[in-house]
């Protein structure tokens, strides 16, 4: 337990570093937001100055930072100029959309990658192993927006099977009451079958796109971890002692291969959450990635800072959860932690 506590204690200082670094980075970006946001020929220098004051950019940098910290302490992430709304509202609205997409993609990716990797490790020359290599190569080599556009072309444009890829729900349907922000869960809670099916249909293509991307590293790790375990002395000993294949697979192989797979899954998850930008664009998915990118291009500091802070927090928490779980699965890691 003390290991977990020590990890928890390390979270606040890491976040403090993130806060300072993001503030410094956004203000190091070349360009003048005040000039950018008053780009109309009618605007003279007095208007630009008025805008600078309105954005609080006329203050010295240390004061801007102090104001930023003060607001942050009250849970205020500032105002986005690009979206015209408070950053906290935007993130609260968009994070669940990204999380729903990412979790669905992770679930699909794990469901594909784990059996594929395990089977490929068991029969290295078989057709499953070849399929695994194909998935890994495709997922690794194809940019997500290409996969996404191909899926749109096939399933929407040509076959007409998928709904028009506008975001999360058909415009004719009223979204279910907001509870979790996850449309699938909210629709189930509201006992709204149509909304649930429609949300699922909208989720299918973008989730498949991201899943292919995520399945690549997961398949490789699953295969490598299983292969390493299968080649180990204790599995050979188990076999020699005549334990059943099922028993070996479940209690020896799975448990020992789980730790590296879990660690990779944690990394892939955090990468997906932020790196879904292109998929979000292609499918008009109202997530955080596209939001942050728009803000970055438009020199809109608050959303960029809020996004990085949110992502850093999520990464820290996911890593923490992964480490704790890994420690529970594999007692040897506890020894490493004490050293």
């Amino acid at each position: 337990m003390s290991a977990v506590l020590r990890r928890l204690v390390a979270v606040p200082p890491t976040l403090a570093v993130v806060v300072v670094a993001t503030f410094a980075l956004t203000h190091l970006l070349p360009g003048d937001p005040a000039a950018f946001f008053t780009s109309s020929p009618g605007a003279d220098s007095s208007v630009v100055e008025a805008t600078r004051r309105a954005l609080g950019l006329d203050e010295p940098l240390w004061r801007q930072f102090a104001i930023y910290l003060g607001r942050l302490a009250q849970g205020d992430l500032g105002q986005s100029v690009v979206s015209g709304r408070p950053v906290l509202d935007d993130l609260a609205r968009r994070l669940p959309a990204s999380a729903e997409l990412t979790l669905a993609a992770m679930a699909v990716a794990l469901a594909v990658a784990l059996p594929l990797g395990a089977r490929a490790a068991a029969r290295p020359g078989g057709w499953v192993a070849r399929l695994g290599r194909l998935v890994a190569a495709l997922g690794g080599a194809t940019p997500t927006f290409v996969t996404g556009l191909c899926l749109i072309l096939l399933f929407y444009y040509a076959a007409g099977l998928a709904p028009a890829p506008f975001g999360r729900l058909a415009p004719a349907l009223a979204p279910p009451p907001h509870v979790t922000g996850f449309l699938l869960i909210d629709a189930v809670l509201a006992l709204d079958g149509r909304a649930c099916l429609d949300a699922l249909a909208h989720l299918a293509l973008p989730a498949a796109t991201l899943a292919l991307f995520a399945a690549a590293p997961l398949t490789r790790v699953a295969q490598a971890a299983t292969a390493a375990t299968l080649a180990s002395d204790y599995v050979r000993a188990a076999r020699a002692n005549g334990l059943s294949r099922r028993r070996i697979a479940l209690s020896y192989v799975l448990r020992n291969a789980a730790a590296p797979i879990l660690t990779t899954a944690g990394l892939v998850f955090t990468a997906l959450l932020g790196a879904g930008v292109l998929v979000e664009r292609v499918f008009a998915w109202p997530g955080v990635g596209a939001y942050a990118l728009d803000a970055l291009i438009a020199l809109d500091h608050s959303p960029v800072q809020g996004f990085i802070l949110a992502m850093a927090t999520i990464s820290l928490l996911v890593n923490l959860a992964v480490d704790v779980t890994a420690t529970l699965i594999d007692p040897r890691l506890r020894l490493v932690d004490h050293a």
Binding site: G31, T51, R93
Partner: protein, 527 residues
Amino acid sequence: MRRRDVLGLGLGALAAAGAPMRRATAAPTSLTVVSEAGPNSFDPIGVGVNRNSIQITWNVYDRLLRFGTKQGLGGASTYDYFALEGEAAEAWEVSPDATRIVFHLRKGATFHDGAPVTARDVKWSLDRVVSLPIGKAQFATGSLTAPEQFVALDDTTFQVSLPRADRFALPNLALTFPIIVNSEEARRHAGADDPWATAWLKTNVAGGGPFRLESYAPGEGAVFARNEAWRNGAAPALSRVIWRVAPTAQLRRATLQRGDADLAQDVSPQDAADLAADPALKVVGAPMTGVFQFIAMNCATAPFDNVKVRRAIAAALPYDAMFQAALFGRGRPLFGPAAPDDPAFPQPLGTATDLAKARALLAEAGLPNGFDTTFTYELSLASIAEPVALLAQEALGKIGVRVTIDKTPAGQLGARLQKKEVPFYFEASAAFLADPDYFFRIFYTGPTRWNFGSYANAELAALVERTRFETDHAAYARDVRRMIELAKDELPIILLWQPALDVAMRRRVEGMKLQFHRQLDLRTLSG
């Protein structure tokens, strides 16, 4: 951008391989439109308000005046800057010295909440424009600067007084800022530190325009519903408009071709050319009066301070090839010969490709071996700017000018233009007010970044000053002709063309009126 081209080809190839089945279209009076981005404010005046916001404010609010309609290039209906019509005002009278304008409001007009539209609402709304810095800067171009100039004479009569006759006063009242706000309602949501309810109006509508905002999802879209009680014009044909954000060109194109969208905005020249060939679709497009694209040279620094160098560049550019490669010919050229004595501007500058002349001019300028320079353009304009830059680079190489191409994000380019440190670049800009003296005042004189060539010519500055309040038409036309001569002779910016504003739609959609602000006017659309 190359990626986008490849993807565009992919879609095109599939479309050619087999025409996909089309879905049943929506109810006849409802329309689904797609655009690249959504609005970020319901108030036209504010820091960072994007152009998509105008699509909201234009349709949920009325103004006193609106621009009439004319046939633009290629038969499309466009706004007519020089023909004003009444919107909330059914009539207006201008005093003989043009310093007093009296507006008569339409009887029976109401806001969405049923309250009558009164002259007090108009006064509050115009007071609001001149009380907010961004609004004031715009209104000052029409000598409208102080609340005292606006007087509600009675419930339906409203007076504007001007310090002197100003040709820009009336057009300013038809632009995007002077929306007529339900002042009672807005005032209820104003605070001591925010007397003009800017915070509330940013996210709420208090208007009386032809459409109500039924719903809005940030970053995803909005739904408009017709205001059945609208009296300030012919009743709109559409009862409902669903606006969806489709960030990629491929998505806009695919949903339009499949029939899930009826109308697509933000169509690139290439997509416009392709979609026009689809038998189920049509493309309505025409250049907007004050919108133009150009190549600028910084006249304040060497070597572009030498007019012969500028003329040499202008003689070397391959205009026809650039027009086809960048715009697919969709627009009005501003190169080549101009109609003699035309007093309108922008107009073709008389430029033509002549490499021998370009070499001779460079030699005369003392640069027979050419020079090195950097050509900059903004990343978001890349689909048009990249072919321009590459063709210019190749052509200028032939006269010894060695060009390095530099792509810069919009935010950075703005700051660098402000500091006047970009020597040679492609840009696009627009003037909403179409009188030629305004164009020269903004784009050819002064210290702002809008003087793209950093041009300083005492004669032009004096002409611009003198024509500002000129009421004698002959004197005005004479001065404008001289300004046009200077622009053609001195070439601080090389005008390239006016790009068409292209909107793609299903064949049954009618009544598209292209507006100066490039957003949809739902008043006239039907489908």
